[in-house]
Symmetry: D2
Subunit: 280 residues, 4 copies
């Protein structure tokens, strides 16, 4: 049962490229059509497989990198998103499950159908009528100027819940609760809970994260200044201007989906958070 596969790999690490090479070989042998991002195709001397990420219409994506690689993929890939098999070759990998040494085995398991699919909620955000790309991890609203405070008013379903002066505020999804929101002091949200979390970043007075139903409509109004920057998944930026100084946030109708081989959310956490760590 063949199909079409896309491969997204960090091009700044040789192991990532050589792993990509072995995976491409396996997939081609299996009768798959394979697509590579242009930079990767060039490094691998396979220009005939080159395709832009935002035009990769495939049945499965294999990412070889960290959370950044996955987030970028989910932002750009045509919707609906194909499932992602995420090989961990990054600094922090809450989204990835497969370590590099098990990557080949994981690809073979995938080909044999021995996997499950984990679906993850995404966050839609709007400036006026304009919809921004969905976030898998988080939507971050911050001052346009470094180290300048942003004063915002946050409402949920038309009720004001918070007024805060801070570096910014994060709305994170369940999986995103283990990312930037965690660094800013937010809790971990069980993936089985239909909830998002609002976390202020460096508020000037102590204001706590709020966990709320993902079915809520959240509105963030810029009080002072009347402009701000929205950053989605640490990858995509959009300015909020004075003529429309607010951002509306809802659960997206789209989801990202990941190919899993048995490792649960808490097992992934355990390996990274409640236990050991990398540093140097």
């Amino acid at each position: 049962m063949s199909g079409k596969a896309g491969i997204i790999a960090r091009t700044d690490r040789e192991e990532a490229i050589s792993l990509a090479d072995r995976i491409v070989e396996i997939l081609l042998k299996e009768g798959y059509d394979v697509l590579l991002e242009p930079a990767l195709a060039e490094i691998m001397h396979k220009p005939e497989l080159s395709a832009q990420l935002d035009r990769m219409r495939v049945d499965v994506i294999i990412t070889i990198g960290g959370d950044g690689t996955i987030l970028r993929t989910c932002l750009q890939i045509p919707k609906p998103e194909p499932p992602i098999l995420a090989v961990d070759m990054g600094v922090r990998g809450f989204l990835t499950e497969v370590p590099p040494e098990r990557a080949i085995e994981a690809v073979k398991k995938y080909l044999r159908g021995e996997y499950t699919i984990e679906q993850c909620s995404k966050i839609a955000s709007y400036i006026g009528d304009k919809r921004l790309p969905d976030a898998l991890n988080e939507v971050f609203v911050t001052s346009r100027h470094l180290a300048k405070i942003l004063h915002v008013k946050v409402s949920m379903n038309d009720e004001t819940v918070m007024s805060c002066r801070a570096d910014g505020v994060i709305i994170a999804s369940q999986v995103g609760s283990t990312g930037y929101a965690l660094s800013a002091g937010g809790p971990i949200i069980d993936p089985g809970l239909e909830a998002f979390v609002l976390t202020p970043v460096c508020p000037i007075t102590s204001i706590r994260p709020i966990v709320f139903p993902s079915s809520s409509t959240v509105k963030i109004e810029m009080i002072r200044p009347r402009t701000a920057m929205v950053v989605i998944d640490g990858q995509y930026q959009k300015m909020i201007n004075e003529d429309e100084p607010s951002l509306t946030i809802r659960k997206s109708e789209h989801k990202s989906s990941f190919i899993r081989f048995g490792g649960s959310f808490y097992q992934r956490l355990k390996a990274r958070l409640l236990f050991s760590r990398e540093e140097s």
Copy 2:
């Protein structure tokens, strides 16, 4: 349409007692039967109205005090719990809505049926087969010895999610998220979300609160020592012994209910917590 009312008031504050006096008068005039806790009945020279809290079978309870008064009432009152009209005369009142100066007005509104009922989830906990009283705010498991670390393993639905050495761990409900759990670093949980929060207290390594579906079954196992103390709503204590060194926690089938006059959860928070100091 008369009925039976119970009044629970702090007896260490004269305003509480004189307010109780005025409320009793109104209720009696309205044809209500009124019951008072023995200590209050004595102070108010109405021994004929005296009744133990755990035998007060009434249609409505009026509390005049802080969160502690309410928590004690919800612990002891016969089930199913009657709705509570909570007048705030305490230090911290996240559960109360009515300030003393509006207490009479609130009682009259109640008598005219001009109110809504807010229902709050409660937490059931078990040591082996033995069920402890339900918690409205939180279940706290801690070392039996001051300043001694407790090592526990926490699982949800039979999956280990956390192993931690700490002063203890708190499982809090939505309303409880604004109480002790908040002091220990937990987030605020929107009352519309069917979720509880697990918060370690002074963990020796940084371990984050986890927000999870209230439908989960949580098990806390004592690793070292094999004994601990359970404290429910800061009021009820029970020892966990070596022969059964674990606590199981689930959502209770019971709820507490509060008589509300329009003030929402976030309005109650706002007055106390969420807004930057200089605002209101």
Copy 3:
């Protein structure tokens, strides 16, 4: 005993300008020479008093604004800095002591010599040999790109003390400990202690603030990326480039000095921060 006074006021608030007007009048009557920043001089129709802040050689500065106004003044005023009489007309004023309604009285007290001087340590920082302007509150090193992680290694007196991935790191002085560093999770430092505090901002793993002697030499090396932005007192920005990817920090030989009328550090804190809400 007359002299030269400079006045620095927010020009976006009418009260600040009208207060400046009254103060100028008093000072002129007292025989003082008065200087105003050009924008203020224009608004007050006194072009003859106009002078750039960085050329204001005066005996005393009166600021009418918030902490931002003071920080800007301390950054730009010619050294050694004249003492500052700080009238509070801002959002957060940890540095200011005098509320607007007591401003005239404070100026008169100053003229009668009824005041004390509080001296505050400043922080010197260097990129290679190039010295940046001294910080009164803090030196903040951060990624040049919004929401991008900066990996730095921090050493004190040539010993590595911390390796962290974060939004950035703050080195704050004693007075600065109540500013941005506090928002990022740092402690308050007693002004009588010769200490600075190193606080990571949103570190991806839990890393704690370190309080260290202000006599230490701190070096912050950019590991990845090799570039960063330095922000001093939220006002002055300087890029750190790959050719010199580190910042060295020491206690400055300069101090800022404030005219005080009896209010202590903890009294200023108290009004803003330290006391439980319900007290004063």
Copy 4:
């Protein structure tokens, strides 16, 4: 150059006892007099070496255990305290430097004089005129009742600095800043800084740790209730009663001293805090 050595070891771990055995042998061969705590002497079948800790007048102490073992030793040993060679055989060891596999080597180095002495400030505390045992890590004032809030007022050098409702407050030394105070949210204090840190434990409103000169006199007054419990180094407890409802804290004239072999404070931290961790 012989002398007198005391050995304090955990008796619940066989490795600790067998290591004690080997160390005793080396010391006796070297001509040292050796003393053992009674329980250890009994297990090691050396009743002739038995001595109570609080009567061990020796030239050096060797501890084989965790921080708890060291803290207990420093509390009970006759003053002035002999230097401690601390072998790490515990859960958390910020005070220990020598891992078990290097213990024999360390003892030999000590015998050859190849070491340095690290001196650590201790904290004296008084209830009225009654002095309690000095703390090496921290003095903790807490409610006498589990999960009950204690309202205290804290002053430094007769100035009120904080009023707080919390589980309790900790005053920690520099080395103690890496212990319980860290778990409660305090910063790390560089051992070169003459400072202590005041950290509230689970305050009901957000109150920050204060780092202050160790030369200060701190007074903690119990406001409500008027009683409390003092816990010193997690080991020694003393009740504070209504007749004298306050605790006075100063730097002690005594110090604890540790035998070090090159590992610095930050290296010890690094191995435990900013990097890996043990859990299961």
